[in-house]
């Protein structure tokens, strides 16, 4: 049997979905007069057919009650009742008023012979899940940053894909993995720091990610059982003992992201992503990459704005916060970073 190509898979999927949806009536039903509906489906690939009654919905709102109720029940991980912030010894986070995104600044790299992409913009609603909690030192490029983030990826268990390694580690509940990006040049397949821990708490809702610049794998693994959740945000009792300040993630009613790029005269490309965000978003995003060895972690843009300089095996990543947004520039390692930063032009 030959392996289907992507095109064959997509064509087959389109045909199957066309068939599946062909029974949908064109005429809309009355919204206030909903009937009981039941799908009886034979579960294929079983020795004995199993009939599954899928839904039995009586009145308007019943689906919503089931769905939303289930969502709320699942909303918090199993650790949610462990402690309150005052129990943890960690400083309580301060509420941050919601913000709406201002018009994002426009960023270009104005170098001789360079051409600018047409930017694309995406707008999204505020995330429903508990916010990131960040522990960090002073400044925009502290040696240690710990970011605990909850994302909606319950059944989206990570799988190694060649661009990172993934090893299981013990977790207080559910499952956890430690991931490392991989330097994958010819002849080299080397995991690099920092690690990222993905923790599926086992309640069918959240995937908690823990990123820690300045933390070893062992530090992060040992930290998992100490994380507590108060129903609003994660806390870490060790923050106080480590002299790390807790800073609250800023809430956004909605966010915007504008992606663009500059193709340099030599054909290489600088990617520019501008996203609604504050200093805390900058700390969170920049914690994904290690500091550049042998290079100052900060740079100054032509307008005097301070930026954080990180790197992965292929690129520099430069971040700064400006006009209610976090800007990320991704620059190939082979380029003269200082010359590119000197050519950055920001307009509001």
């Amino acid at each position: 049997m030959t392996v289907p190509t992507d095109e064959e898979l997509i064509a087959g999927m389109r045909g199957a979905l066309d068939d599946l949806t062909s029974s949908v009536p064109v005429e809309r039903p009355k919204l206030d007069d909903r009937a009981y509906t039941v799908d009886l489906l034979e579960r294929r690939r079983r020795r004995w057919p199993v009939l599954v009654a899928v839904t039995a919905v009586a009145a308007a709102g019943a689906v919503g009650a089931v769905v939303v109720g289930g969502q709320d029940d699942d909303r918090h991980p199993a650790t949610s009742a462990v402690s309150s912030p005052s129990d943890t010894g960690a400083p309580a986070s301060q509420p941050v008023p919601p913000t709406t995104p201002a018009s994002l600044p426009a960023v270009v790299v104005a170098m001789p012979g360079a051409s600018q992409d047409q930017p694309t913009t995406v707008t999204g609603a505020a995330p429903e899940l508990p916010p990131t909690r960040i522990y960090a030192g002073d400044g925009i490029a502290p040696d240690r940053v710990l970011v605990v983030r909850t994302t909606d990826a319950e059944f989206d268990a990570p799988s190694p894909e060649g661009d990172h390694t993934m090893e299981p580690i013990s977790a207080p509940t559910g499952e956890a993995w430690v991931l490392h990006p991989v330097l994958d040049d010819p002849g080299h397949h080397v995991p690099v720091d920092p690690a990222l821990i993905w923790w599926s708490t086992g309640n069918g809702r959240e995937l908690v990610s823990v990123a820690g610049r300045g933390f070893s794998d062992a530090d992060l693994a040992a930290l998992l059982p100490a994380l507590t959740f108060d129903g609003v945000a994660w806390a870490w009792p060790g923050a106080a003992a480590s002299a790390m300040a807790e800073v609250p993630a800023q809430h956004h009613d909605e966010w915007q992201q504008r992606s663009s790029g500059t193709t340099l005269a030599d054909g290489l490309r600088v990617a520019i992503v501008v996203t609604t965000g504050s200093r805390w978003d900058l700390l969170e995003q920049s914690s994904l990459y290690p500091l550049v060895t042998g290079r100052a972690p900060k740079a100054v843009l032509p307008d005097g704005t301070s930026a954080v300089v990180m790197a992965d095996p292929g690129s520099y990543h430069v971040y700064w916060q400006q006009a209610g947004a976090v800007v990320q520039l991704t620059v190939p390692l082979s380029e003269d970073l200082d010359a590119i930063l000197a050519a950055v032009v920001v307009t509001r």
Partner: protein
């Protein structure tokens, strides 16, 4: 490039909006859940939600897309848990491939991968639209598509 915000259509009353958008919404939800009756229920639920706030919505179509995907995701969660319980007592067996084998394989994917494949390759949404409703970046959508196709292929291979 098309975005959700840019897709706002000329303003009509809710009834007209419901009439025009019902088929798409019901088909999206059906494709996302894999079950026609559930899809129609969820589409109705989405319109009930929109009706209550229709006059205040700047982009009803964008709101409809998001609501249908969110309701389908919520249903998918509860359905997956139910399936896991059933699977615990029903031993799987391999039978000959069927015409709907692809739908089975699609149903076995994590929701985000399934939603990405359905919305990108069948409903012809843009990556930006999908990123908006899944609250992720467009690069993540492309990653979901790549992983989803690989997982789909793995599911249907003997």
């Amino acid at each position: 490039m098309r975005t959700m915000a840019a897709e706002a259509e000329p303003r009509t009353g809710f009834d007209e909006f419901y009439r025009r958008r019902w088929p798409d919404a019901a088909k999206w939800a059906t494709a996302l859940t894999g079950r026609p009756a559930v899809g129609q229920e969820l589409a109705q639920e989405a319109f009930i939600s929109i009706r209550a706030r229709y006059d205040s919505l700047a982009n009803p179509v964008g709101y409809l897309r998001r609501t249908v995907v969110n309701l389908s995701r919520s249903w998918y969660r509860s359905s997956a848990r139910e399936d896991a319980r059933i699977a615990a007592v029903a031993k799987p067996d391999v039978v000959a491939p069927q015409s709907s084998e692809l739908l089975d394989a699609l149903a076995a994917l994590p929701f985000r991968q399934r939603a990405t494949l359905v919305l990108r390759f069948w409903a012809d949404w843009t990556d930006e639209d999908i990123a908006t409703v899944l609250e992720c970046r467009t690069a993540t959508v492309r990653s979901h598509a790549r992983r989803g196709l690989a997982a789909l292929r793995q599911e249907i291979e003997p």
